[in-house]
Symmetry: C2
Subunit: 196 residues, 2 copies
DNA sequence: TCATGAATAGACCGTTCGGTCTAGTCTTTC
DNA sequence: GAAAGACTAGACCGAACGGTCTATTCATGA
């Protein structure tokens, strides 16, 4: 069985994750996934008995672990939270630039656009919380108090989601790169808080 | 002709805007729109010759003017930008709470999920820019410099988009309400910027 | 070497999709 | 009150959808 990286199952997951994110779950036909992954229908229903929704779940999980990997890559070697956050934003910007079509943010995409079942929805929420907790964990690892860490993780998450949306609207990742500096950099600290 | 608020055409637009936002463009069938609005198919293709995509455009425009109205309601009577932004966040939170199903942010929803045509995409981008510009206009009206106004408007937009996403993931509008205070309030100024 | 289950392969099915078309009904205007 | 166009009404269409099913091939252990 071996489950190599290029196994039928993994190919299906990777292709599905990509297409679902690019065009959305409902806008992506199984036939397109199958054609792109070069997999016949029978194989899909062998590996994913529940069909499309099953595939969506797998794709979401796969994406989540990818995101966590990116977070770890950014935060583990970082001397402090701000540096980690900056690196993360840059990594995400790079990810954004990789795609020809400006797709939805991977974090939110696979969670909100999927089968309508409540079970999928619940799974998505749990996954989202897991990502937020992971971010908070890194913050705490840098010596922040639990409350502080949670708050900062949340702020960063908001900024990333919003930043990605703006980047997508403009088809330009610049916002994402500016994000970290706006949040933590020496420059403007979100709003200069000048006149008001 | 009269074009009353409850005219067939307006009913179609309102229902489409709601459903598209709740379930997404591709996940919403014309039959559902038609049934909900109590409109036969023939009427739809009379008012919107290009069918579903045409309807999506109209729904997006209709939503955009709604959003602008909300912005005006928040900013016109406000003594300064921070107050206006706070009011806006609260209004959006209220809007969020209105829906049983936690739907996508109206600003981004109707822009990103629609027909795949490039023309729709372009129209969406233009609409998005229009909203951003409108926000910046309000900021400038409060005496901020153009650069400042643009920057603040962008920050607010990022925060709203990201905040809505988080609110949606948690099915709780609290994040949106906390948003304004985090950005401009006397309390925590985004990150306390303490230890790091 | 052969038996067995995993995996592949794709023809096929019922449903629903967005869209077309013709017929009928109002509404407005001479 | 008849002509004309705006609008409503829904039967109908081909295409594509997700999903099922049977046949076949491949891999593995006895």
């Amino acid at each position: 069985m071996m489950q190599s990286d290029r196994s039928t199952k993994n190919r299906l997951i990777a292709v599905a994750a990509l297409l679902f994110r690019q065009k959305g779950y409902h806008a992506t036909g199984l036939s397109e996934v199958l054609a792109t992954a070069q997999v016949p229908k029978g194989s899909l229903y062998h590996h994913f008995p529940d069909g499309k929704s099953d595939l969506a779940r797998a794709a979401a999980d796969w994406t989540a672990t990818q995101i966590i990997q990116i977070m770890d890559d950014a935060f583990v070697p970082a001397p402090d939270f701000a540096t980690g956050a900056t690196t993360l934003c840059y990594k995400l910007a790079k990810l954004f630039d990789l795609q020809t079509t400006a797709a939805t943010c991977p974090i939110s995409a696979l969670l909100f656009d999927g089968p309508e079942s409540e079970s999928f929805r619940a799974h998505a929420e749990a996954t989202f919380d897991r990502l937020a907790a992971h971010l908070a964990h890194h913050a705490q690892r840098q010596g922040l108090s639990e409350a502080d860490a949670t708050a900062r993780a949340e702020t960063l998450l908001i900024a990333i989601e919003g930043g990605w949306t703006l980047a997508r609207a403009r088809r330009d990742s610049a916002v994402l790169r500016r994000l970290a500096q706006s949040l933590f950099g020496a420059g403007l600290r979100i709003p200069p808080a000048a006149p008001m």
